[in-house]
Structure formats: C-alpha cells, structure tokens
Symmetry: C2
Subunit: 176 residues, 2 copies
C-alpha cells in the first residue's frame, strides 16, 4: 500500500511538472509530423516574439511568430542564413472581433484571437544536413489538438517558401 501511494505521488509530481513545462498541446507521446519527422517543441509557447501578422482570405487568422533562443539571436544579429538549431514557431488563431474592446473604443475596430484553426501550429527547423533537399529547413504543421497534418500537405511547405530564398526561405521579418 505504501509503495502504491509513493508511486501515485511520483506520478502526480511528474504530471504536475509536465503541465507546468508544456502548455497544451503537446503530450510527451506526441506524434511526429510526416516527411520531416518533427514533433511539437514542448516549450514553444514560452519562446520570444519574432513578429505578428494577419492573413485575410481563406485563412482569416491572426498570428504570432515565435523563435527559440538561436532564432532570436540570429534575427537580432540580422545574419543569414539562420544557423542549425534555429526553430521558428508560427501560432495562428481565428480572427474575431472583440465586442468588449469595441465598446471601450466606441467603434468596431478591434480584432483578437479566437479559437484555434486547423492550421494552429507550424514549425520551421533548421538542420542544413538533415534537410539539405529543402533549403536546410524541416517543416511541420499541427492542428488545434496537436495532431500533425498529412504527408501531402507537408510536401507543399518548401515550394511555398522557395520565393523567400533571399531571406533563407523565411518570410517573417523581426518586428523591432
């Protein structure tokens, strides 16, 4: 009995640790995305801000682009190409008006993040050897529940990023 109780305490402690260090989504047994084999980085929501954007049209989302320490350092130094170990995360939320903000402003002008869309989370991971065939970058997309997109979708990532070759295939600039 005593042993079981201790085990339960240990499990609870580990569960608490996971809950603290890994904001949803991203359980430890998380599925890797196809093609590039990338999993959700557990601490991505703690990364620093690169920039923000709004996409109209079919996407109609508002997004934040975050970077791990290597990414932020490279962005601020303004040096290209990004070094191996760079990881850039793109978080997107549906684009919704804020009734509360609009009341305070006295007019309809304020748009804020709503629920997560199916393209909630993307990563670009720099590994110039592993991903040599795609400009040194691996790509991954996960939905609102942390489920990776399919193989066909992942094959569209690099062709879409190719026009940004001059900035090492990265569209997002650092917002100072």
């Amino acid at each position: 009995m005593k042993r079981t109780a201790l085990l339960l305490v240990a499990v609870a402690a580990v569960a608490g640790l996971v809950a603290f260090t890994a904001p949803a989504p991203g359980p430890a047994d998380q599925q890797a995305a196809p093609v590039f084999g990338i999993k959700i980085y557990p601490r991505y929501r703690d990364w620093r801000l690169v920039s923000v954007a709004h996409e109209e049209g079919n996407l109609n989302d508002i997004r934040a682009i975050l970077g791990n320490d290597i990414a932020i350092k490279a962005y601020r130094a303004g040096k290209l190409p990004f070094p191996d170990g760079t990881v850039i995360a793109r978080l997107a939320w549906s684009y919704v008006p804020s009734e509360e903000n609009n009341k305070a402003f006295g007019r309809n002008q304020s748009f804020v993040p709503g629920p997560r869309p199916d393209w909630y989370l993307q990563f670009m991971v720099k590994d110039s050897k592993k991903y040599a065939a795609t400009g040194g970058w691996g790509f991954a997309q996960f939905d609102k529940d942390g489920k990776p997109a399919g193989e066909a979708q992942h094959k569209t990532c690099f062709p879409c990023h190719e026009p940004a070759k001059a900035s090492d295939f990265v569209f997002t600039r650092y917002a100072p």
Copy 2:
C-alpha cells in the same frame, strides 16, 4: 593614460552590456512617463507572448501584448486580480501589406508590422498601493523613440480601462 584606457574599456563593456540587454528603445537615462512615473522596462522585448491584436480605424496597427514572468504566471493560472509586480507591455506597429507574402500566397491577404507609430509602446504596472486610485494599475505610453506621451494623455488611460473592471481592468486575454 593607463587609467583612461581602462576607463574606456569599462565604459565600452557597459555600453555593450546595455546594447545586449536592452533592445531599442530605452537608454539607461530614459525619461519616466508623467502621472505614474513609469520608465521603459529594459527587457520588455524578451518577455513572453500574451496575445496579438489588430486595431482598425485611426490606429490601424497590429500589436503584440507581452508579459513579465509574474504576468504570464497569473494569466496561465487564470486568477484575478493580477498580483503586484505584474507588468504587461503592448507593442504596436503600423499595419502594412506584405508584397512578398502576397506573391507567395498568390493574392492580397497578408498584413505585417511596418514602422513604429507614435503609440508604439505601452505598459500596465500592477502596484495595488502605489496606484490604488486607478484600480491598482499604473499606465505609461512611449513613442517610437522611447519618448513618453504627455500628462493629459496619461490621464485618459484609466477611464478607458474602467469598463474592463471584471477582468481587473485588463482587456487582453491570454491566447492559448
């Protein structure tokens, strides 16, 4: 001579440190904003993301809301009111179309940060004693060069935030 050289090395070292720890704006001798006496927090650009937003109309900006560690912890715990020591930073950039992104998407849909507007940087600082008369919050606004807005403008902060009393006078919700 030797003493002068050493002094110069020391000054250069400190200047280097400031440049590294305090991304622009915010020199060490930065002017405090009126009314609440708040200065720019040197490391605000390293803080973690709370949310993003787009304001149409006269503002026409795209913004990021960042929080210091106390703010992020409180937001994630979902507990109100925010504890003393909470600091929330609001960064705004002019809202501009991205030609490069639009080319990649094949349509005009992408909006990104442009130059800093005059209302580039704001802080909300929780100190329930010092700022008791304004809901426990001090407010500050700085322009694109780190210059504080005037006294009259700072007197408009709290009245505008009063409708958000139910969320401790804070409009921005955490974007999960």
